[in-house]
């Protein structure tokens, strides 16, 4: 579904992405792993068209995304740090997003997360007054709201309490089983164990490897993802 071809992005002298190529298909759950500043978020933002690559291109369903925008209808994005108009209340924000994204009202909404996170009780709260965790809940709810084929989650569980992150995890597994593509970046490797099918490992803007989790386990001889990644990191 999403194919990145030799994507390069430089911010001044810093090379954030260096010739990254990757292919993600339907029904996969891919984890983007790497140290801080390895270019994970930049790659994700390139896929969303928020950052425009200097070189290379990205296709979504075999169409170049550079001059396309409708493809984003199929993506639900949860940013690492959700930034929302501060004067809006949660209810207004949700209504605005529904208003902007619904076309002729034929969009099926998925409000499971809104209910699970008990957002209807605090609809009148302004975005500026929300805690980091509640903002994350709103971000997650928005990402899943429009039943997208692709979910891009940037550090989804950072800042969420254990209960909320368990709800979110179950939701991700449920969506994966519906055959959706899920892309997750995270540092909490123990959480990814029962989620992911593929792993992309990045370092200093380079994509070091992209393989299925079974291959990774075979290659490293470790059962746990965290140990497998640790042994990879040591080798480098």
């Amino acid at each position: 579904m999403i194919i990145a071809n030799n994507v390069t992005k430089k911010f001044g002298k810093l090379t954030a992405l260096n010739n990254v190529s990757a292919t993600c298909g339907k029904g996969q759950c891919t984890a983007l792993i790497g140290p801080n500043g390895s270019g994970k978020t930049t790659l994700v933002k390139c896929m969303l068209g928020m950052v425009i690559p200097d070189n290379g291109f990205i296709t979504f369903n075999d169409k170049n995304i550079l001059h396309d925008w409708l493809y984003r209808e199929h993506i639900g994005y949860m940013p690492q740090i959700g930034r929302y108009p501060e004067n809006m209340s949660i209810g207004q924000l949700l209504n605005m997003m529904k208003d902007i994204r619904s076309k002729n009202g034929k969009c099926s909404l998925d409000e499971d997360l809104i209910k699970a996170f008990k957002l209807p009780d605090i609809l009148q709260k302004r975005m500026r007054t929300l805690s980091g965790g509640t903002t994350q809940k709103v971000s997650a709810s928005l990402a899943f709201l429009f039943n997208p084929d692709v979910l891009i989650l940037d550090e989804p569980t950072a800042g969420l309490d254990p209960l909320a992150s368990e709800i979110l995890k179950e939701k991700i597994i449920a969506e994966k089983q519906k055959g959706k593509l899920v892309l997750i970046t995270s540092h909490i490797l123990s959480e990814l164990d029962d989620l992911v099918t593929h792993v992309i490992y990045m370092q200093d803007g380079n994509l070091l490897f992209h393989k299925s989790i079974d291959r990774l386990r075979e290659d490293t001889g470790e059962k746990k993802l965290s140990k497998a990644i640790a042994s990879v990191m040591k080798k480098n």
């Binding site: 933002k45 928020m50 984003r72 993506i75 930034r83 929302y84």
Partner: protein, 255 residues
């Protein structure tokens, strides 16, 4: 696109600055017309104030508004919307809100006290200036990431268009008074929308004594009708070019 414009306008109306701006213009316009029995004198003073205040408020408010909408823009860019539409909606929303404020603030007094063609030109030019300075503000805001720097650039641009430009023109005229500079000066006034607006209004009012040197030359050079049409086209160019440049930058911007 209409939906986004709607949200921008609702958001602008919710913060009270635009309403305060409307009231300020109302107070000034009613005050000036009541000060003097002669409405054309009132109109002249109104013009001088409009040419200073409208660009200042429009450029500062728009720049700050764009920076404060950073989150809103970021949110919209990750949605299935064209960047061009997002940017044009922001421009449209701000321009409509400020134009409306100007139209109410100055329009009411003009319709009551001095419903002449010169007054209508003043109204039209004010609306054009509003849109021009919104476009310039968008350009300043899209090129600088730093908020303080962006607002500083906006203030400097306003200072340049309102004061420095005229000073430079006078300086050049004084230094090179032995040479025939008329055509050159007429051409150079196209580089300042505020100057052009003043010429446009004064050409209509026919008060050459108050026109200033550039205006006198302009009238002499273009004649009445041709001069007005030319300056009107140049003013439209002043909307289009900053907007086009800012849109080009926004399309390639990393968020």
């Amino acid at each position: 696109m209409k939906k986004i414009i709607k949200y921008v306008i609702v958001d602008i109306l919710r913060n009270k600055i635009v309403i305060a701006y409307t009231l300020l213009l109302l107070a000034i316009s009613f005050g000036l017309f009541n000060l003097d029995d002669n409405t054309s004198k009132g109109l002249l003073s109104l013009m001088n104030i409009v040419l200073i205040i409208v660009p200042l408020i429009c450029i500062i408010f728009s720049t700050i508004y764009i920076y404060n909408s950073a989150e809103f823009i970021e949110l919209l860019v990750s949605q299935p919307l064209q960047r061009k539409h997002i940017w044009m909606s922001l421009f449209g929303g701000i321009a409509i809100a400020l134009s409306l404020a100007f139209f109410i603030g100055v329009g009411i007094a003009v319709f009551i006290y001095s419903f002449t063609s010169a007054a209508l030109i003043l109204l039209g030019v004010g609306l054009l200036l509003t849109v021009i300075f919104v476009a310039i503000a968008l350009l300043a805001a899209v090129y600088t990431r730093d908020k303080a720097k962006g607002i500083g650039i906006s203030v400097l641009l306003w200072l340049y268009f309102s004061l420095i430009f005229d000073g430079l023109v006078l300086f050049i005229l004084y230094q090179f008074q032995d040479y025939p500079l008329e055509k050159f000066i007429a051409a150079i006034s196209c580089f300042n929308p505020v100057d052009l607006s003043r010429i446009l209004i004064l050409l209509k009012m026919d008060v050459s004594a108050l026109m200033g040197y550039t205006g006198a030359i302009f009238k002499d050079f273009f004649g009445m009708r041709a001069g007005m049409i030319t300056s009107f086209i140049v003013l439209l160019l002043w909307i289009w070019s900053p907007l086009w440049l800012s849109l080009r930058r926004f399309n390639r911007k990393d968020l």
